[in-house]
């Protein structure tokens, strides 16, 4: 059935392109405001990133990234409609206007940024590709995987990195390509493949879904750079800026020590940087086309970047991922946002 959806997405894309006049009537911000909610594309279920519970409430770092945008626009982080998408469907869904923003562990690459009519607005998780193997096959380094059968998800950067890595190491492999992460995991757990490969954060998430997570290990090798972040359509700079700066605001809030708990107190702060971020001085919100207190709303509703990280993927969650590269630049990581000024 997924095929039909992705076909439909491609068809709508073609259809949309047929009809589209030279200048589209409303800006994305206007149509989001008029609709009363933000349409956000996420995964069909990946713990820690975007996952619905049995009542249909979505959680995850990618989900919170969207909630922050909704908080900035509406002052209400719950005004988001989530659309689950497979890796194959996601970019077409954004191109065709089915969603306003894609926040679905999507790697920023040149081709995607340049030739698809899309723009990446930033990085909410710095990742790299790795390998998950069953413990009993006795492999502790990816270099020992010559001849292995590998389960992958279709339509990912993973497919290309994998071929590159094996080729440059003079090894062979057999790829088994599935449409959804569900099937990919099933392929791995039912022994169709020796290895499952994906971004390491997703391996941690998928491993937590196995019947016996301890039966599998993530190999130490990192074979690629996978900066994951939100994506918007090209050609609407205002919208691009709003999505970009709502993530920057979360990162700056962490740097300035503003948290969900102390944000009301911080409103009284004398620090001009904090004042500008929370909108108690300056006209930053207005410049973006938002209300003056957009920054306050983001932190109040969703929290700063660190809170969002710890809540969803941090060491105390089933994923148990250390901050590593995703720590602030002041803490030895590379998470860095331009100043609010």
């Amino acid at each position: 059935m997924k095929k039909i959806i992705s076909f439909a997405a491609a068809a709508t894309l073609a259809g949309g392109m047929l009809a589209a006049g030279s200048a589209s009537a409303a800006t994305t911000l206007e149509s989001v405001k008029e609709r009363g909610n933000l349409k956000c594309g996420v995964t069909s279920g990946l713990p820690g990133f975007s996952q619905p519970d049995d009542k249909g409430n979505w959680t995850g770092i990618d989900v919170d990234t969207c909630r922050a945008i909704a908080a900035a626009i509406f002052g209400d982080g719950s005004k988001v409609e989530f659309t689950p998408l497979t890796a194959k469907e996601r970019l077409t869904a954004l191109q065709s206007g089915e969603i306003d923003v894609l926040s679905r562990n999507t790697t920023w690459t040149l081709t995607r940024d340049v030739s698809l009519g899309l723009n990446f607005t930033g990085t909410n998780y710095y990742d790299g590709q790795g390998f998950l193997v069953r413990k009993d096959i006795g492999v502790d380094d990816a270099k020992q995987l010559d001849g292995a059968t590998v389960c992958i998800q279709a339509g990912t950067t993973t497919e290309l990195n994998l071929a590159d890595y094996f080729r440059s190491n003079d090894m062979s492999f057999k790829p088994i390509v599935f449409d959804t992460s569900e099937q990919t995991v099933q392929g791995f757990s039912s022994d169709r493949c020796d290895v499952l490969t994906s971004d390491r954060s997703q391996l941690a998430a998928l491993r937590s879904k196995l019947d016996d997570p301890d039966s599998a290990v993530i190999l130490p090798n990192i074979i690629s750079k996978e900066p994951l972040g939100p994506v918007v359509r090209q050609g609407d700079d205002q919208w691009f800026n709003i999505v970009k700066w709502s993530l920057f605001t979360q990162i700056n809030a962490e740097e300035l020590g503003i948290t969900q708990d102390n944000v009301d107190e911080m409103k009284k702060s004398e620090n001009p940087e904090i004042q500008r971020l929370l909108g108690t001085s300056g006209d930053m919100g207005e410049k973006l086309g938002l209300s003056a207190d957009y920054g306050y709303r983001i932190v109040e509703q969703v929290g700063n970047y660190g809170e969002m990280y710890d809540r969803n993927v941090g060491p105390d969650t089933p994923l148990g991922l250390e901050r590593g590269l995703n720590a602030l630049w002041t803490d030895g990581g590379i998470m860095y946002a331009p100043p609010v000024r």
Binding site: K3, A14, K88, S115, G147, A148, R167, V177, Q183
Partner: protein
């Protein structure tokens, strides 16, 4: 014959008053209008995509693909082009479709005839088969074969080993691969000669039977020729054929021919599902042949099997062929459910990975649709030719 019936002379008629000319003109105008509309839609689409910063055009087909494919009938590796991935996917689609059409036809005919068997158990079993299989969605059946059946095969280390030649495990069925050496051309040539001889003998035997009524053991003689001639050539040229056996190396078996479980599952599901429909078509075709035909044949003293083969089926084919064509078309199109279990067919490889890596959705979808259309039209064409051959010849 009757001069007064011809219309009055048309010398002074204007061409636009001539209904023939007019209808031709309208048809040309209609075709031009449709063509123009299609062209400008395409043009407009590409222009709009260009203005939104989306790459268009077919240049990507020459770029290096950079991803692996588990199964390919032609040499393929990741350094080859996106255009090559198209052919890999297409051939995989054609392979599973052809295998499916053959198996579905055989199973369908057997079950369809069994439905009409005078043996109660056989007839009821066939009925249960048809009613169960055709009422379960195909996708579920594919999952059933893939996840429920084939996944339960033993793991690589515990493979079923048949004499060290065939191996079966949850990664596939491993067969020996024939490797030909120089001189094998002679074997092939002698096989061709044998086939030609057999065809000749068949014709001669038929003619002789028509003339003299004498039967000739065509089948046995043909078989002997088909085996003896290439066999002799094979021995004379010094057995120019070796078999490469699959062997366990590292994680998997390497060498030999591998039939991956994705192909097997898809093949089983497609064949059995389509066979349940073909069975009904065959049954209705047979029932459409009037009982008098069978009775007449019985009166001539023919055996039931012979009656079926020589009297009933040939006449039933006239009713069977048109709906059978639709079933073949369905099977080919249904084969695109392959993506659900990771069989690398045209939709999985080309409309899946290639589309995603290049982002050129409109082009890739257009090519894919054109291919399915072409395959379907070809099948229809072939079946129509066949249908004309079996159709009732009015004499």
């Amino acid at each position: 014959m009757n001069d007064s019936d011809t219309p009055p002379a048309t010398a002074q008629r204007r061409p636009w008053n001539d209904p023939k000319v007019r209808s031709l003109a309208f048809q040309i105008i209609a075709i031009l209008a449709v063509g123009w509309a299609g062209w400008s839609l395409l043009q407009n689409t590409f222009e709009n995509m260009e203005s939104r910063g989306i790459s268009t055009g077919f240049g990507f087909l020459d770029e290096s693909a950079g991803f692996g494919i588990i199964m390919s009938l032609i040499p393929y590796d990741a350094t080859m082009s996106y255009g090559r991935t198209f052919w890999v996917g297409l051939l995989n689609t054609l392979l599973v479709s052809a295998m499916g059409v053959v198996a579905a036809t055989i199973i369908g005919f057997i079950v369809g005839i069994a439905r009409l068997s005078s043996n109660w158990v056989v007839a009821k079993l066939a009925l249960v088969f048809v009613e169960t299989i055709r009422n379960i969605p195909l996708l579920l059946q594919i999952f059933f074969w893939y996840f429920a059946v084939l996944r339960n095969l033993p793991s690589t280390r515990q493979s079923v080993d048949v004499g060290g030649v065939f191996f079966l495990n949850n990664r596939g069925l491993y067969l020996p691969e024939p490797l030909t050496e120089s001189g094998f051309g002679w074997v092939l040539a002698s096989l061709a000669i044998a086939v030609a001889l057999v065809v000749g003998i068949k014709r001669w035997a038929r003619k002789r039977q028509l003339k003299t009524g004498q039967l000739f053991p065509t089948f046995r003689v043909s078989l002997a020729i088909l085996i003896a001639l290439p066999g002799l050539a094979f021995l004379i040229t010094g057995t120019p054929l070796t078999w490469e056996l699959a062997e366990l190396k590292g994680f998997n078996f390497v060498g030999g021919i591998t039939i991956i479980p994705e192909l097997a599952a898809l093949w089983f599901a497609l064949s059995i599902y389509t066979a349940s429909f073909i069975a009904e078509i065959v049954r209705s075709g047979i029932l459409a042949v009037s009982k008098g035909q069978t009775e007449a044949a019985q009166a001539l003293g023919l055996q039931p099997g012979t009656i079926m083969r020589l009297v009933v089926i040939p006449q039933a084919m006239r009713v069977i062929v048109p709906p059978l064509t639709s079933q073949y078309l369905n099977l080919v199109k249904n084969s695109s459910l392959a993506t659900a279990i990771g069989y690398p067919d045209l939709v999985g490889v080309f409309m899946g990975t290639t589309l995603n890596q290049t982002g050129q959705a409109v082009e890739v979808v257009a090519i894919t649709m054109a291919v399915y259309l072409t395959i379907s039209l070809l099948i229809s064409l072939l079946m129509n030719i066949y249908n004309r051959k079996v159709a009732l010849q009015e004499r």
